[in-house]
Symmetry: C2
Subunit: 422 residues, 2 copies
Amino acid sequence: MPDAPHVVIIGAGFGGLYAARSLAKKRVRITIIDRKNHHVFQPLLYQVATAKLSPADIASPIRSVFGRYKNVQVILDEASRFDLANKKVVLKTGEDLSYDYLIVATGATHAYFGHEEWAGLAPGLKSLEDAVEIRRRVLLAFETAEREALIDGKRSMLNFIIVGGGPTGVELAGSIAEIAQKVMAKDFRGIDPTRARVVLLEAGQRILPAYPEDLSRSAERQLRNLGVDVLVGRAVTGLQPGKVLVGEEVMASNVTLWAAGVKASALGNILGAPTDRAGRVKVAQDLSLPDHPEVLVIGDLADIKDQAGKPVPGVAPAAIQQGKAAARNVWRSIQGKPREDFYYLDKGNLATIGRAAGIAEFGRLHLSGVIAWIFWLTVHIFFLIGFRNRVLVFIQWAWAYFTFESGARLITGRTDLPEAGK
Amino acid sequence: MPDAPHVVIIGAGFGGLYAARSLAKKRVRITIIDRKNHHVFQPLLYQVATAKLSPADIASPIRSVFGRYKNVQVILDEASRFDLANKKVVLKTGEDLSYDYLIVATGATHAYFGHEEWAGLAPGLKSLEDAVEIRRRVLLAFETAEREALIDGKRSMLNFIIVGGGPTGVELAGSIAEIAQKVMAKDFRGIDPTRARVVLLEAGQRILPAYPEDLSRSAERQLRNLGVDVLVGRAVTGLQPGKVLVGEEVMASNVTLWAAGVKASALGNILGAPTDRAGRVKVAQDLSLPDHPEVLVIGDLADIKDQAGKPVPGVAPAAIQQGKAAARNVWRSIQGKPREDFYYLDKGNLATIGRAAGIAEFGRLHLSGVIAWIFWLTVHIFFLIGFRNRVLVFIQWAWAYFTFESGARLITGRTDLPEAGK
């Protein structure tokens, strides 16, 4: 179809992937640009970070997702500039790519509130590389404490501090507490992993502020049952190697993780359109840029309100809905039809808190504990991309549930052995 | 058992792992030192390097293998020096560890025949980190060629050159040819992955020189059927970025992999005992160091002959047999019994050459093709450490066999995008 309209999609997260899927069966040419070769199922990233799943279990090569659609091509590259007047994307490798329609879906990244130097001290969790790095730090902390206990007879503390009480922070804290309590317990001789301290720091007055208050309280209770110290009203004022500063208080920390904030991908700024404080691009209700109906911005990069006037949250279902809506609006324009406004439909929210625990909100129906957890399992297996991934994840979850083992306890990369005399 | 003899084992490859397993049920205290937290099932490393399995599928945390043996402790560290006179190992972190018996099993690493600067140009395959790096380079080569074809209209060559025709070289070449031919074919638009050229360079007169000649020929035929160019009698004389030099000939190469030689771990030299050309420690027939019966050296680090006077090969079964024999001899010494000589029992050799192809040698029984491949599958599933790993590997093999898909096609780490103007 050399004369079919050319739709360029930047980013193959949930938004870009579902936009491409919706358009792939239409008479259009699609080019997907991503700087990675894989789509990541982000809601399960924390399970890679906590050694429950392998990176490949939650990732799919983008080009294999679209293998059978001959009108879809995938290019490993990045957008470095936009020439909206001439409808061109300039790629990092220097070439131009012309489009008829452009969908920008490059998502969000960690925000350290102006302290970008904290990134090395407290990694956030957005990519598979982040997840493997967090896994390395968490497992290495146990190994280091064991070595010191066995060789020097030292009783070191083992503190994990997670900054930020949103869903990612809650899931990381619950999952780390769980492996310390259940998985690691029988494998160490010098230390008692069950005495590791997991702290969840939240600046606001309650964790999971986007959830109704009763579910916040329930999540906090479930975390405490796992041994997590939930500290609210504590804003981090500084990070140093091995330390977290909260006002006057200095907390010793072996591993600090950052789940406190996100900002939109830097690509938003170079689109030349107005952005909000978090760098998100203000879009019209049809998801398009002002004055550029052929450019649509979706997912975590878009600043858009729902029907009640509330900002659409940065969650996977919202990105998926926007991806589908953007594809529909592009196709309507191609057919010469008027576009439709996009309104986010909140179908509910789910979070897990370790084994057989979690919370779920479906409108006025609020669930906690095992039932929420079963909902969570079912939904996440169902939405995983690729049948193979579903089978592998299901088997590993079942295995972990019945054996209290955790499959991917690998330290790869540097082991940071302190050399004698250094 | 604080008064039980203390056995220190350095290295948890096949030799060290099986030595520890054999001793774990005896009345001894065991300390395993390894610089990684995991044992790797090395015979399947090439499947991680070629995107068929995930790292965690072929690795087991060392301490979880010994979780139920309370007399076994595991320390993440390295040996940096030996004080044989005082029976002490000095660890990299600076502390001493006293032993009654010491088993050194630190294996082998790549040898570039004095050209260590080649390591960056042609990675070898010994660790999970190596495997992920090779996977990154192989997959990235396809992505780069696709980008150049789609954007610049360039028809780049896609050459993979594997140096060394031993089992690792053969398995890598077969496996890369297979993913190019079967897995990648339908997912690219600008390039035709089936036209990628896979070259196996062997300096000697035939590949797999350790195998009988008829099986060498059969392996060569099976590789050619997969489209691999097998070039024998070609010694590599130089490596440059993007180039392999063979005498006067310059071969363009997108990805060069090194499977041409190994040398023993550097630890052999600091034991103070005589070593052979490859750095292997000459041991007595009971696997002990001369003058130090309490120190045993096993696996790829040991220079020992079999009953026919031939050197014991550097393969997993030999290391396993030596690990068990070392454990038996240590236990016999503890009981005041005389030691037994170790003689390698060659139970046969197997190699795969892609899908439903392979060779097998069991004494005078030589097998080729599907039957050898089925033998290989069965043996490797059986010997994998951990039931969980067996289930996951089996499922992924079955999946790949029936769907021609390959599960772990992940590029993680750097994507090396050439920036405009650079």
